[in-house]
């Protein structure tokens, strides 16, 4: 297995190259390249990667403590760097890859139906495959620079896909904004790598983990400043990719992309890369204990996650666009994941990444089916009553809705409950954050229920013309929807360990990740003993408190969800009433002017964008043209008299002059060569 690991990323790359080539070759053709061929290649390649990932995971299961790795070639080898291009397939990469390639394949299949009529179908499929390649490299890379390769790669693909319909300049603005904001975070990533390299002397993941796991207290204390800098800079990178405050503003605008893109990139996979990175570097984050502005690195992660979760949830309550409501929900849910990281429970954070991937993909693809059915209508004010018009889609989205609400036994219940639990268990700041998180869970239930009510049960606002021409959901879209909905219902059971009937432990998922994040978690909180929980069960005493906490959190989360949902039903069951949208009011993404990021956009416009432009213009007009060019002009004027002679050269004579001067040069060389002293 370790010799074919490279195929997992390379297959989608091949798919991207082939479909991209076909797109270019068919550019002049009126119909574009053969859609069947494109679709087959584009779906087959990620599917093959998925099967290879399963095979590798099976192999890994035999030796859980020995990750499969493959050294491909020596990449950066100079000065202080000796870095191989290497792949690392351990439990963490295995988990991430399973759902990246799995959900990736499903969404590619869905796109065959959703984008089949689009003129740029082959180009779209090529970008999707390129995205999967980058995402796989991000996850499977054996070192930080390898991950960075995928990290910027997914940013590029996000740019290409958000601006996919590039006739529309608003969409182009949104795409550019996404890339630039991500680059701001990437600078943090770069500098964080330098800081970490100064501490560890290597950027290889296994070396980094090894360095921190020795926990040589004096060695760590001497470098606590650099370690904190590394953790915070890398976390800044994560806020860019995972759309956390302060770099949150790009994600809502990114909804300009086709809906499958929103589902795959801006909900299920790419935006969770920040959580993945923190889990991957859990040993670093746990040891970054030096307080910066009063908080240590993990506390910063927790606070930023909390603020973002609240902000995203509140923003979600005011959206008219079905995709934007889901986008803010993603922002908010990512905040929950970061809160779990901050509480030192990286396995819980990844569990939420996992369940969220299912239910958010379900919701987005369901929304896609709605938009598809209503002929590109995504304004909630023109929906309502869809439960009768498209019952299949309603059922699917219902599953996703119950999951995100956190109603037992749907998947979101388990992961959200665990997050609340870990926050309260971490004590201190965690308890305050935990209270906010419970309230946020209530707000989440409110805005999600509002969206569902407005779309499916409120009095219909769909005009007759559309109602009579609802587009059916084709099989290529229906199959992924069903599979993902089943995932939204059942994925949570993995924590329970598809239950003990199979002889597994009750926290199978935590066990699965323990070889990667277990040591960091044990170092963070030796008392709750999360990774070895199954052993603690036998000891009873500490576990009694643990169980009480678990039950009370389940109760608190459920109550908050029910209250939020009930409130939304009461407020919105009549729909918007008479407050219909004015004709021509569009909810389409508007580049830099999106609602609710508006505050951030205004702020950044005033503080960053405008000064940049002014500096550029001032630099050009004042410094360049006035000072630099002016001074040179003075000199040039003096020299102009000399130049008059030069200007007298005329074209017919030029060739002769050139020939003569070159002949002279060669003649000199020949004379020299002839005079070379004979040895």
């Amino acid at each position: 297995m370790d010799s074919v690991l490279w195929l997992i990323p390379v297959l989608p790359l091949l798919g991207a190259a082939i479909t991209g080539g076909l797109a270019l070759a068919g550019a002049k053709d009126a119909h574009g390249p053969n859609r069947g061929l494109v679709a087959t290649i584009a779906v087959l390649m990620p599917a093959l990667s998925f099967f290879l990932t399963i095979a590798a995971s099976v192999e890994l299961a035999k030796h859980p403590d020995y990750p499969i790795s493959q050294h491909l070639w020596t990449w950066l080898d100079f000065g202080s760097l000796h870095l191989n291009a290497s792949l690392l397939f351990d439990r963490l990469s295995s988990l991430m890859l399973l759902f990246v390639t799995g959900i990736g394949t499903l969404i590619t299949l869905y796109s065959v139906g959703y984008m089949g009529e689009d003129r740029g179908f082959a180009r779209f499929m090529s970008y999707l495959n390129l995205f999967l390649f980058s995402m796989i490299v991000l996850v499977i890379g054996g070192s930080l620079p390898m991950t960075f390769l995928g990290w910027e790669g997914v940013g590029l693909c996000s740019y290409l896909l958000v601006g996919f319909w590039h006739r529309n300049d608003d969409y182009n603005d949104a795409a550019r904004k996404a890339f630039v904001v991500n680059r701001v975070g990437d600078l943090g990533f770069l500098l964080g790598m330098f800081a970490l390299l100064a501490v560890v002397g290597s950027l290889d993941y296994e070396r980094i983990a090894g360095f921190f796991q020795q926990r040589d207290a004096t060695a760590l204390a001497g470098q606590s400043g650099l370690i904190a800098a590394a953790a915070l800079l890398l976390f800044f990178g994560c806020t860019g990719k995972s759309a956390q405050i302060p770099l949150v503003t790009w994600l809502p605008d990114a909804m300009a992309g086709p809906t499958p893109v929103s589902a795959l990139i801006h909900a299920a996979t790419m935006v969770t890369a920040g959580v993945f990175l923190i889990a991957r570097l859990s040993d670093l984050f746990v040891d970054a204990t030096l307080p910066v502005l009063g908080l240590n690195a993990l506390q910063w992660v927790m606070v930023v996650g909390c603020i973002t979760a609240v902000w995203g949830a509140i923003a979600g309550c005011f959206q008219h666009d079905i995709k934007k409501a889901l986008a803010y929900s993603t922002v908010s849910q990512l905040g929950f994941m970061f809160m779990a990281c901050g509480a030192g429970r990286f396995d819980v954070a990844l569990f939420h990444v996992f369940t969220h991937a299912f239910f958010k993909a379900t919701l987005f693809l369901g929304a896609g089916a709605v938009i598809h059915g209503l002929h590109h209508e995504q304004d909630l004010r023109r929906m309502g009553g869809l439960a009768r018009l498209m019952p299949f889609t309603g059922l699917i989205m219902g599953a996703g809705w119950l999951a995100i609400l956190g109603i037992a036994p749907f998947s979101g219940f388990w992961s959200k409950d665990l997050i609340l639990e870990s926050l309260f268990a971490s004590g201190g700041l965690g308890i305050a954050i935990g209270v906010v998180a419970v309230v946020t869970a209530g707000i989440t239930a409110y805005y999600m229920t509002r969206m569902m009510v407005l779309a499916f049960t409120a009095p219909t606002q769909v005009d007759d013309e559309t109602r009579n021409h609802i587009q059916a959901v084709p099989a290529t879209m229906a199959i992924p929807l069903v599979i993902l909905a089943v995932g939204s219902i059942g994925a949570g059971l993995l924590w329970m360990g598809l239950p003990a009937a199979y002889g597994c432990h009750t926290d199978w998922f935590a066990q699965y990740l323990a070889p990667v994040v277990g040591k960091a978690q044990a170092a963070f909180a030796p008392i709750p003993a999360p990774p070895g929980g199954h052993e603690a069960v036998a000891h009873g005493h500490a576990d009694a408190g643990h169980l009480t906490l678990a039950w009370s959190m389940a109760l608190a989360g459920t109550v908050a969800a029910v209250i939020g949902a009930a409130l939304a039903v009461v407020v919105w069951s009549k729909g918007y009433g008479t407050a219909k949208p004015e004709a021509g009011t569009s909810t389409a993404p508007t580049g830099f002017g999106g609602a609710w990021t508006y505050g951030f956009d205004r702020l950044y416009d005033a503080v960053v964008v405008l000064p940049t432009k002014i500096l550029g213009l001032a630099g050009y007009w004042l410094v360049e043209l006035l000072v630099i060019a002016g001074l040179t002009q003075l000199v040039a004027n003096a020299a102009r008299y000399v130049g008059d002679g030069y200007a007298a050269m005329q074209r017919p004579r030029l060739r002769m002059q050139l020939a003569l001067s070159i002949a002279g040069l060669v003649a000199i060389l020949i004379i020299v060569a002839a005079n070379i002293p004979k040895p």
């Binding site: 270019l24 550019a27 070639w73 990449w75 950066l76 080898d77 100079f78 000065g79 202080s80 620079p145 960075f148 390769l149 910027e152 790669g153 590029l156 601006g163 590039h166 006739r167 300049d169 182009n172 550019r176 890339f179 630039v180 680059r183 701001v184 600078l187 770069l190 500098l191 330098f194 800081a195 800098a229 940049t612 432009k613 500096l615 550029g616 630099g619 050009y620 410094v623 360049e624 630099i628 060019a629 040179t632 000199v635 040039a636 020299a639 102009r640 130049g643 030069y646 074209r651 030029l654 060739r655 050139l658 020939a659 070159i662 040069l665 060669v666 060389l669 020299v672 060569a673 070379i676």
Partner: protein
């Protein structure tokens, strides 16, 4: 084999002569001939990579009145070899991509480009200051001719501006070399460091200034960049590909080959000045690039930004940064060469290159769009490209010198995508402008010229070892004296605090 380097220098000069005298005065034939000859020369230069060509030194002529003899002293090492590859392969690419720009006067274009190639190679291989200076200055003539013959509406003035500006920068160098010849009795590079080290401080200072001035103009280093934007704007795309891709590297080459080894102590002493100027250029260049409304000026300021970044790295003297310098010079040459060839095509077809002059080009010319986007991404140092390896190593070196230098220089990472994405969006996306009408899909020749450059950008990004092992090691070795001088300066402060241990350095006075 003994004279292989000499043959390599004479070959393009001879090719230039052939093109000049045998030109059938017919564009297509001249084009084929020029391309064939330049490809032949490039193939001849390939063995440089495994250092197959031995050094040679032949006495040429006595410098009258100085007692020094000028030698035709040629040698190649990792740095010379890789920059020579850049020159050798960008030349056929520029010729191949020039058809639409140059039109009927292909014979003159090929003649000038090949002459320039010969002189650039001469500057890269010469280890004799006088011969170096002849080549370094001689390059200006064919370049000026190219601007004058094929430039925009302001071409005559731009050609003059270019020649006079860069000449003004290097005339002090001529005097410095003359003075050195008279004092030292030699102009051989190998013999000079020991001689210069013994000179009194003020004389060293004047010499240092003369050398720095000549190369700083060429890089260009702020505030000596006045010639750049205007020259790039008025020069035809394929010629800028050579100018920005290859010729500008000779400024940095001069710093590495001459300034650091000849003046290690002064370089270390003034390192902060260069770092500050470099940082202003890195960030300021990128900011000004955002404000540009034509593509060529934008790319000119982008080049200013990228090469200033290299200068900052050079003057940290860090091993990582020196390897980054080597990779970044090759990488920048490839990406900026590709970008200017493509801009050259657009300009040749439409007569304009303003940022707002086009729209929706990607549907009219998909291949042009794809290649342009890839070249722009390489220029923005996307991981996987050689530009990323170069920037990564440069920034790493800066971080080791002082994290704040890396943080400030790193701003160009963000600003770089702002202007490039703006240009891409205006030209290739959005609604189709009426003015996009004349721009057609690129010809196979242009695609063939650009593709190997982009392939190189990715190949060296994944396997940068081929550059770092040779060119990187050379740069590092050239910086060693300066690095040691800088290290010797640092503990200077604590010594007075330890009166118990008398400083041995003080006694040697």
């Amino acid at each position: 084999m003994q004279y292989a380097l000499l043959v390599l220098l004479v070959a393009p000069a001879l090719a230039s002569l052939i093109a000049a005298v045998s030109s059938p005065q017919q564009s297509a034939a001249d084009h084929r001939l020029g391309f064939f000859l330049s490809l032949l020369v490039a193939a001849l230069g390939l063995p440089l990579l495994w250092n197959a060509y031995p050094a040679l030194s032949l006495p040429w002529f006595p410098l009258i009145g100085t007692g020094a003899t000028v030698h035709l002293s040629l040698a190649s090492d990792g740095l010379s070899a890789w920059l020579a590859q850049l020159v050798l392969w960008l030349t056929p690419a520029a010729i191949l991509g020039a058809r639409a720009t140059v039109g009927e006067r292909m014979g003159a274009f090929v003649t000038a480009v090949l002459a320039m190639e010969a002189l650039m190679l001469g500057a890269l291989f010469s280890r004799d200051l006088v011969v170096f200076y002849m080549c370094f200055e001689g390059m200006l003539i064919p370049m000026a001719v190219l601007i004058w013959l094929f430039g925009g509406h302001d071409r005559l003035s731009a050609a003059l501006w270019f020649v006079l500006y860069t000449m003004a920068g290097s005339i002090p160098l001529l005097l410095a070399i003359w003075w050195l010849a008279a004092q030292a009795g030699t102009v051989e590079l190998a013999a000079l460091p020991a001689f210069i080290a013994k000179l009194p401080a003020d004389q060293q200072g004047w010499l240092f200034l003369a050398f720095v001035l000549a190369f700083a103009v060429k890089v260009p280093l702020i505030p000596l960049h006045g010639w750049q934007a205007r020259t790039y704007a008025e020069t035809p795309g394929p010629a800028v590909a050579l100018l920005a891709g290859a010729m500008a590297k000779l400024g940095i080459y001069g710093f590495l080959r001459f300034v650091l080894p000849l003046f290690p102590v002064l370089s270390a002493e003034h390192a902060n000045t260069f770092i500050v100027l470099g940082l202003i250029g890195t960030v300021g260049g990128a900011l000004v690039a955002i404000a540009q409304d034509d593509a060529k000026r934008m790319l000119a300021y982008s080049s200013l930004s990228h090469l200033s970044l290299v200068m900052v790295g050079v003057f940290t003297f860090q091993t990582d940064a020196m390897h980054g310098t080597a990779v970044q010079m090759v990488a920048h040459g490839l990406s900026v060469g590709a970008l200017f060839l493509l801009v050259g095509w657009v300009e040749a077809k439409s007569g304009t290159y303003g940022v707002d002059d086009f729209g929706g080009l990607s549907s009219r010319a998909p291949l042009l769009a794809v290649l342009f986007v890839i070249a722009a991404l390489a220029s923005a140092a996307l991981p996987g490209t050689a530009n990323f390896v170069g920037e990564f190593a440069l920034l790493l070196g800066m971080w080791k010198s002082d994290p704040w230098i890396a943080a400030i220089a790193g701003l160009s990472v963000i600003l770089g995508v702002v202007y490039l994405l703006t240009l891409i969006q205006r030209w290739f996306y959005g609604r189709v402008h009426a003015s996009s009408e004349p721009v057609t899909e690129i010809s196979p020749a242009v695609a063939l010229a650009v593709l190997p450059l982009l392939f190189g950008a990715f190949a060296f990004g994944l396997f940068p070892g081929v550059i770092t092992r040779t060119a990187g090691a050379t740069c590092d070795a050239l910086a060693r004296p300066a690095r040691e001088a800088a290290a010797a300066r640092k503990p200077a402060a604590p010594i007075p605090q330890a009166p118990a241990a008398p400083a041995p350095a003080a006694e040697s006075h």
